[in-house]
Symmetry: C2
Amino acid sequence: MTGRKEQGRMARGKQETQEAWNKVDTVCRVVEEGIRRGEWTAPDKLPSVRAMAERLGMHRLTVMKAYQKLADDGVIEAKYKSGYFVREADRELKAPSDVEPSWDYQAKNVYTNRSRLADIHRVPVDYQMSEALIDPGLLPNMYMSNYVKQIFDLYPKLLSTYSTVMGDPELRESMAGFFKEKQGIALHPDELMITTGSQQAIDLVSRSLVKPGDKILIERPTYSPAIDVFAQQNIRLIPVSITPDGYDLEQLEHVMKRERPRLFYMNPTFHNPTGFTVPVRQRKLLVELAERYECILVEDDVYHDMYFGNSPPPPLFYYDTEGYVIYIRSFSKYVAPGLRISVLAARPSLMRGIAPVKALADNGTPLLNQKMFQLYFFSSRLQEHVAKLRIALQLRKEKMERLLAGTGWRWTSPGGGLNLWVQLPDGFPVDRLLARCLEQSVAFVPGSICDPLGELDSWIRLSYSFINESLMEEGLRRLIAAAGELHNGST
Amino acid sequence: MTGRKEQGRMARGKQETQEAWNKVDTVCRVVEEGIRRGEWTAPDKLPSVRAMAERLGMHRLTVMKAYQKLADDGVIEAKYKSGYFVREADRELKAPSDVEPSWDYQAKNVYTNRSRLADIHRVPVDYQMSEALIDPGLLPNMYMSNYVKQIFDLYPKLLSTYSTVMGDPELRESMAGFFKEKQGIALHPDELMITTGSQQAIDLVSRSLVKPGDKILIERPTYSPAIDVFAQQNIRLIPVSITPDGYDLEQLEHVMKRERPRLFYMNPTFHNPTGFTVPVRQRKLLVELAERYECILVEDDVYHDMYFGNSPPPPLFYYDTEGYVIYIRSFSKYVAPGLRISVLAARPSLMRGIAPVKALADNGTPLLNQKMFQLYFFSSRLQEHVAKLRIALQLRKEKMERLLAGTGWRWTSPGGGLNLWVQLPDGFPVDRLLARCLEQSVAFVPGSICDPLGELDSWIRLSYSFINESLMEEGLRRLIAAAGELHNGST
């Protein structure tokens, strides 16, 4: 055993720190003296950290600490990304978040990633029709909160406990029971993984199953972040058009045969953004094609429970006997979306590849969220809530359709889901419409970002699930007015 | 507007389903008849789904559904991954999780990922010294649970609300205040990202900043999952040895100059697994080297708050004036680990690249976890708890050192952290020791998986943070006995 004493080193460290602070004081005096002398007067900008360091022959860190100290003392003022300024004696101190130093940022980020939908969502608006989320006003918040509080009595050490990588065994067991009972799909709990939302499930699939240079099939249009997720991997995206009747299977088989794509990312039920549902007959044939051409089907079933009228046909996963389908199902979205609980189902040969990526991504979804979800999801109140939610969403959809009825725009009325996929006149400047709408606090998704080819630029996606009915009226009024102005301006 | 009726299609779907079920019944009758006739008797295995489908000229899906139905009815029995078997009349039905069909898995997962630490943790053991986690017995579970229940009164719609991608603005604001007050580091809230544990932060950095073919520096030894995370990206790992005195900076500069690595993943404070702390003087020089050679320093500061005696020197991030350091700090680990809250701090030029990857990875850490963490972390009770925890961990560390004192094994007593990095005699068969220990319900981490070169195979990492003192006595007794047997056997 070679026990080492670290005290000597630590003491040296403290001493060095003291010397550094003496230098900091020197810089402070130089600046204060300069201000007194009138070298810099309010609201002058002080020399940059770099320039002052060179002038004084000191380290930039020393100057930076001095500037920070002077800012704390109210002598100078730090403006975020601009620099340090002499402060006027009578001006109020800004809120802490505004008082930040500028930096001479030198490090460059040469690798670009993007999430175009997140970019749109970053703009806060009052009339929110770009996010396909459920209006919190449609969820039984009080009931849920009171109900899930029980979780701490049931699991006293829950806040101290990690989940297993695959997810809580109890929840996966319950989920296996759910799939068996509700969908007639037999699953071993080890064929189920709990993910932090469906977004994570898509990401994990993309990371575990494709490699640079692979070809993958993706619907056109599709869920925009899926394009970004797969594009990140440096693969080739081959678009497959989706119509109210599903896909052109002959064409699809041709492409599978010629291109041998690794996987097909699909959203065949109340498809996002179009609302289309791939018919049963195609579902069976698709599974056969997948098997024949060894193309994994990644079935994103995000809107399964949000149907109006008829419930949707069984997932493609139901028809899969050979383990070619990966099934991603959103669950917490309609129940307690803040919990972020989705399920990824895959047979062992595929799950074996996905599980290690989940371990590296986050070591497992937080157990707290899983236990809370389980408690509420399998409660008697739940099905009642979901049935009510379906009706509320249908009413909002119908309201949106009525409000758009006079525009002459075209759409296919969806049998479920959260979105209307609306076609504006050919050549309509949707990008300019979006800019104007954002100025007026109205957000929607431009069709082009849902298109792997970046076209479909006369389409827009309007979500009716987040905005309440009175806000919807005003939001659409503004949108339609903005479109009218652009239309008149452009003709 | 082109509203479409989907009823016709749905009805066709239902009809097809009915026909399919008639075929399923046919198969059921064939099997039941065969069993009555004695073609298959318990406990015979039935023909595989594939073979039966060929024999009857039916689709495999039909046969599978029939087998499932027969299993549900108790006529046959499904054994996970083995197949279907004729059931003995008197045998009890198995628990649902054991009754699962076998599949002819054809889909192949050709891309391998791995998480070797997760592989070890998958084995459940009684004497847990492989996981560097905090014993839930050391956390004030009752107090935390009661305290965080308030969160639902404070934020009544919390279970319905998503976080922003970067994390809750309120928490980032508080964290900026924390860094300013406790570490003298000025940060704008937009320079902070909340992640689902530090594991996710490392993963996001790896995904946003490196691309295939890049070279990166990584300590030797290091945190095993970091090796796996970076190796996933198909980059070249260049090991940098860490010693009780830090790194060999001359050698390091030479490597930076020659190889131009993209980044250096480091854990300079109570380093995992060794417990070493890089001295202050090196910290400043490292930041200068990073700037000179444009090599980003990824500073993983997981054990910062777990010091025994002196608190650690300031993070490298403190010395960085040019934005070359990315700082990852674990927070919930010592407070409420189930919440999985860590912070990634980076200046805007780097954060710009990381934020979109977070959006694609999970769209933001669940808000519930962030709010609960904030409530507890900034409570008066917290600092008191952390101070107690430090003492408890120090006592466990000292106990482990006493229990190992007679072995002749060597280690450097750490000034903080959760692990002992122990050297066994040269050439000791650590892999065989691990196998024996796991059989005896004892787990530790073999040194080789902490080594980017896969060597260091006479070292082991023993965590003293999860196992309580009495279990530690028995666990180490078993480990030392197993080692003694192997030693005697091999000489």
